[in-house]
Amino acid sequence: MSQHPAIELVGIDKSFGAVHANKNINLKVEKGTIHGIIGENGAGKSTLMSIIYGFYQADRGEIRIDGKPLDIRDSQTAIAAGIGMVHQHFMLVENFTVLENVMLGAEGGQLLAKGVSGARKELKRLETDYGLDVDPDALIEDLPVGKQQRVEILKALYRSADILILDEPTGVLTPAEADHLFKVLKVLRDQGKTVILITHKLREIMAITDEVSVMRRGEMVATRKTAETTVEELAELMVGRRVLLRVEKGAAKPGKVLLSVKNLTVKDARGVTMVDNVSFDVREGEIVGIAGVAGNGQSELLEAIAGIRKPASGEILLDGQPIANADPARLRALGLAHIPEDRHHMGLVLKFEEYENSVLGYHRDPRYGRGALLDLKAIQADAVEKIEKYDIRPPNPRLKTANFSGGNQQKIVVAREIERDPKALIIGQPTRGVDIGAIEFIHRRIVEMRDAGKALLLVSVELDEIRSLSDRILVMFAGKVVGEKTPDAGEQTLGLMMAGIAA
């Protein structure tokens, strides 16, 4: 069959200033297939896809759509060529309705009234065809992320995209939502559409793709038929060395209770109870994992312990001292470190240079300066040390933090908190959007902390992560701890508890 590939890239090259994001990339994506793209953080996946979508322009190279070279200068050209993209960071207008977002750029005339009824009908059709239901009149800011992503997919389908690019769509989804997404993708493929899927989760690649391409440091290093490869091979191709996909750890040797939470109740800004009378202990030398579907109070629990949110009632004790009303600075002084769930909102100031973030929150330490003055030399030397130890790339303490990829940003936070050698560490989503090489590294650090006799509390929506790291697992549902299990409890048992069905 002499069918042209849906997309063919020839010699694509792209730099952002000094960062060479894509180097001479060649790629063929066959029609009617799901093509996976994997690669470490900062490998250049998003950049490459944004070039296909006309969001960035390549410095060199050619894009062929259906065999014909196409000069994609802006997204308009890409959309006209039947390309749709769901970006890693959503491109939605938050105070617009779903309908307005879908129509934006495809309004069907100068006046909105004409297009609206057509758009409603089309949305209805897409809803029934693909099971992508969202209320067209809901405001984006009121929707959970899973639904927001649906809107992004609807936007592409509404423009009758034949080629759909999804950049890390499952990073923000619950397992059930991800399953549903994959069903939709399979339907699209069976209709002859082409799907490009970027993800860090190799299991997803194995489950749904037909072919998979691997990127490393800006280069396309391999393309494999999914049926002819293994998770181990892919991991090795991605990182350039063998990767341990399992966490290796010995038995825990728990000591005395270090962190103790008693009858803690936390409310959110609207006064809704998010954490409901929760009690537990974390001992020295153990990792306690908190499992749960996102939004069941884990975030609020973390924030209360970290001193960011005032508890409504209850007690928190660190080494016997009450800390429920201490602020974060005091908690740090007492030896409680915190790796926040959302590195962009809480962990980092993206406009700062790397070295500034590497001491953020600890900048008052006499090591980093005297009185009102900072000792920049000392801070930078310290940052370089952390960069080396944690393999943060690119190894440049003077680079703006926004220019690091997600995984490397996460390493900056992890390095900062762990290197302070705290007594207790509370960790939220340590590996969200992080590649497997970095995951392996971060996991190893966490286990080392445990073995050094620290008390660790881990919150993650990745059940695998919880199960492989924790010594004890608490399951949270609707603000309550509904049970405690050991890590060898089956996935299904835990899944049922997380859904509030069994205890």
């Binding site: 969001f55 997204s75 006209a80 970006h87 491109m91 934006l104 100068q110 006046l111």
Partner: protein, 323 residues
């Protein structure tokens, strides 16, 4: 009945003082909704006032004067656009610079051309927009209550006044009922969404600043060839800033903008009325208090006492793809 006459007279001047604010605030609404801060409203208004007066004086035609004002004001807008949209400069700096340019240039050119210390010569007749008398004024004159209101507040204004009030529903309609409006609101919130929807952020923002220039042309012309009969140095007298305050006070919404402008116009009219009059028990109230009130009210609003004002999210930030 004397009290009612005072009320009517204050309302009449409220209208007259609100019009330049209204045009200017609507102008600001278009740019700021598109994510471009426009502190240069004041300068545009002043430059347009000067240009209108010059053209009206030379041609003897008020409409041509208006056109001249619009042209110059759009030119200023384009400079602002070039600095802040094309070259991604700081929007506040660009706006402030334009205000200084306008304040200086109008006086220098006025002196060079007319030699009257920065004033333009007096104009009259066809060169001005004069008050229009609406039908039935004579019949209405004797109707109690609504009569004086009709005669002195509703009738007897110049054409620009009526256009200003017409501009409010039109702005609303453009913003919420047209494709241009949808895209404009979107680009002020998340230009990335507009860009990835295949729409040019740059061109869209340029169109927004051009509309703002157009509207500022009207407010400038109103000042020099409708309300007065000549351009006088610094005649905008901070109205651009008050309009900006009204825009924030109205939370960037067209109909509330109109009410905010009327409120601030009323404060101004009331201040004029109170000048030199003593309030029983308090004594004479300094007019400065009334002049400061628009700003004070806006500050109270911004401090969160009268609801929360959410400015367009992407406001003031040049759009770049490079991080």
């Amino acid at each position: 009945m004397e009290f009612y006459d005072i009320v009517v007279s204050i309302l009449g001047s409220t209208i007259r003082l609100s019009i330049p604010l209204l045009f200017t605030a609507l102008a600001g609404l278009f740019t700021e909704r598109a994510g471009v801060f426009d502190i240069g409203l004041e300068g545009k208004m002043l430059a347009a006032a000067f240009a209108s007066a010059c053209v009206a004086y030379v041609t003897g035609n008020a409409w041509l004067g208006l056109l001249g004002g619009i042209g110059v004001s759009i030119l200023f807008s384009l400079i602002h656009g070039f600095a802040s949209i094309t070259n991604r400069g700081n929007q506040i700096v660009s706006g402030v610079a334009l205000n200084f340019v306008a304040a200086g240039l109008t006086v220098v050119l006025g002196q060079a051309w007319f030699g009257q210390g920065g004033r333009t010569p007096q104009i009259s007749g066809e060169a001005r927009f004069s008050p229009i008398t609406l039908p039935f004024v004579d019949a209405m004159r004797d109707v109690p209550f609504i009569g004086p209101l009709y005669v002195h507040v509703i009738s007897g204004n110049n054409i620009l006044t009526y256009l200003a009030f017409l501009a409010v529903p039109i702005t609303w309609w453009v913003l919420f009922r047209t494709r241009f409006g949808l895209r404009l609101r979107a680009v002020g919130e998340n230009p990335g969404a507009v860009d990835t929807a295949g729409i040019s952020v740059t061109w869209l923002r340029y169109r927004a600043v051009i509309v703002a220039g157009f509207l500022c042309g009207f407010s400038g012309a109103y000042l020099s060839i409708a309300q007065s009969a000549a351009f006088i140095k610094d005649m905008s007298a901070g109205k651009g800033y008050i309009a900006l305050a009204a825009l924030i006070f109205a939370k960037w919404k067209p109909v509330p903008v109109m009410f905010a402008c009327l409120l601030f116009g009323f404060l101004d009219a009331f201040a004029n009325f109170m000048q030199g009059k003593a309030v029983p028990g308090i004594g004479e109230v300094p007019v400065q208090i009334f002049q400061a009130l628009p700003y004070i009210l806006t500050c109270i609003l911004l401090a969160g006492f009268i609801g929360v004002a959410h400015p367009p999210k992407a406001g003031g930030v040049p759009y770049t793809k490079e991080r």
